[in-house]
């Protein structure tokens, strides 16, 4: 009996030990897996950064050895210095603020109009027949070609700038919203009829969610075009904004500042795009899609 107890006891201890082992190894595995994933992310980021980094290094070296003219192509270090100076003087933020304000206002006006018009035309066939042909006709005119007209009509002021941005932002959202509504599965409309959805519920519970992937794509495209419109509007003449910063620097051959301006356009453009993509990921969680 006693002996059995003695034999039993280490056995239990062993089992206990084994359980603990299993638990810790499971925890380890989990940690290991998330580490792997982190590593994977890090590697992907590294792969994306490789080319620009090599390019920057070569560029810097060429500049340092005097192989290229500093007026035409200042070195990355010079550009970084100029960036820093603009940053601490507050100029950068002032110009960036003005530019972003313009882009945002133009985008909101044009995008909202595009969204609403797209919804109306998508939902009502009569409206489609009345306005869509005209809108499609206007769409084929490159909106930058209308710039001279806007300047003639409204001068170089804020109004023509905002209008130019808004005009560009209108079309992508309009087309995508319209398309999105028209691609809603007709079978789901039968479901809505059987469940006696009210007309408003049909829009909010069926049409809008189904069209959302298209609408979000339209949002991204519109943002891109708004940004493009902003650059054109500011380059054509302004007294503040990133575009002005670039034009002003060009006149004094401050190439480094031109580079800073271009880089700012690129970074902010990419940031807003990432924001919408993030929104897309969150709102379209229900979708099953190929991720490569």
């Amino acid at each position: 009996m006693n002996q059995a107890d003695i034999i039993q006891a280490p056995g239990d201890a062993l089992i206990g030990e084994a359980k603990k082992d299993a638990a810790t190894s499971a925890a380890h595995k989990k940690a290991y897996r998330s580490e792997l994933r982190e590593n994977g992310k890090g590697k992907a980021a590294l792969r994306g950064a490789l080319f620009p980094l090599v390019l920057l290094a070569v560029w810097q070296l060429c500049g340092s050895f005097g192989l290229i003219s500093a007026t035409l192509l200042p070195t990355p270090a010079d550009i970084a210095k100029t960036f820093y100076e603009l940053l601490i003087s507050g100029d950068l933020f002032r110009h960036l603020g003005v530019s972003m304000g313009r882009a945002a206002l133009g985008f909101v006006l044009g995008g909202a109009a595009g969204l609403l018009m797209g919804l109306g035309v998508g939902l009502f066939r009569r409206l489609e027949q009345t306005v869509d042909p005209s809108i499609q006709m206007l769409r084929t005119v490159p909106h930058l070609a209308i710039t001279p007209l806007f300047i003639l009509w409204f001068g170089f002021g804020e109004f023509s700038k905002i209008l130019l941005i808004a005009l560009g932002a209108f079309f992508p959202l309009y087309i995508q919203t319209f398309q999105g509504i028209r691609s809603v599965d007709a079978k789901l409309f039968d479901v809505a009829r059987v469940l006696e959805f009210s007309r408003s519920k049909q829009v909010t519970k069926l049409v809008l969610p189904a069209a959302l992937p298209h609408i979000l794509l339209g949002l991204r495209l519109s943002l891109g075009v708004a940004w493009l419109g902003l650059v054109v509007a500011e380059l054509m003449g302004s007294s503040e904004g990133i575009g002005y910063l670039i034009m002003d620097a060009r006149q004094f051959a401050q190439t480094a500042t031109v580079f800073v301006g271009i880089a700012i356009f690129a970074v902010v453009g990419k940031a807003t795009d990432s924001l919408v993509r993030h929104l897309e990921k969150k709102l379209l969680r229900w979708r099953e899609s190929f991720s490569g």
Binding site: R193, K201, L206, W286
Partner: protein, 259 residues
């Protein structure tokens, strides 16, 4: 037995082919459904059984007959006539519980209570938050049934709801459907092309003919529930139904047990 709930009288229903010819889809249909009945409609493909169901639901109104629900004509689809489609047709952007609620808000305590009751009834506890893409075909179809039941329909119309499912899932869903019928006494009309399914579920099997679609015969099934597909009385009824088909030499039927 009990009162009439649904009357369908269809002298004639034609289809227009793309070539412009008109083809008779349904002819001389007269079907009376009593409250609480379970009816299965069975027939070869092209016999118009799904068309008949859509007409009963008010989804197809281009015909010269009439459908009366409690004496009132059905002119458009609505929640009194619940409909379960062949494919589940769930909203892909809504979770299971939101799909069942659909246009109703889960924030209303009454809706929430009923939805969780139905989730339990169709045995989907634990999947309330799942999206349709995460569900199997059988589970999706159960959500679709729950969605129709939330509206307490007077009649539940099911259009080959288990046709696309594998044999195991199908027989499981047949059990679920019988459970629901037993609990709620909802009147059900189910279209199928599976003879076993038709006999297993129904109080009456309505056999249809093709070209033109007519009701060939109605066979009452008096077997007590739960039924045993292998029992001799079940097999006898099966033979009777099969003989009806052989008489017209229409054996396009899917014969699931392979006799």
């Amino acid at each position: 037995m009990s009162e009439q709930l649904l009357n369908v009288r269809l002298p004639h229903k034609t289809f227009r082919t793309p070539q412009g010819e008109s083809v008779t889809a349904l002819h001389n249909i007269d079907l009376r459904v009593r409250r609480g009945e379970f009816i299965t409609l069975i027939g070869p493909s092209g016999c118009g059984k799904s068309t008949l169901l859509k007409i009963m639901a008010g989804l197809d109104t281009e015909h010269d007959g009439e459908v009366l629900l409690e004496g009132k004509p059905v002119t458009k689809p609505g929640i009194d006539l619940g409909f379960v489609f062949q494919e589940h047709r769930l909203f892909p952007w809504l979770s299971v519980e939101k799909n069942i609620a659909a246009d109703l808000s889960l924030r209303q305590p009454e809706v929430r209570r009923r939805v969780s009751e139905l989730v339990e009834l169709v045995k989907l506890q634990g999947f309330e938050k799942a999206y349709p893409r995460q569900l199997s075909g059988g589970m999706s179809q159960r959500v679709a049934i729950a969605r129709a039941l939330l509206r307490s329909p007077k009649v539940l119309l099911l259009d080959e709801p288990f046709g696309a499912l594998d044999a195991f899932t199908r027989s499981h869903l047949q059990e679920v459907t019988l459970d629901i019928w037993d609990n709620n006494r909802t009147t059900m009309i189910l279209v199928t092309h599976d003879i076993d399914e038709a006999i297993y579920l129904a109080g009456r099997v309505v056999i249809m003919d093709a070209r033109p679609g007519t009701i060939r015969k109605t066979i009452p099934i008096d077997l007590p529930y739960p039924r045993k597909k292998a029992s001799s009385s079940f097999q006898e009824l099966r033979t009777i139904v099969l003989r009806e088909f052989e008489r017209v030499e229409e054996l396009e039927l899917v014969d699931s047990s392979g006799i």
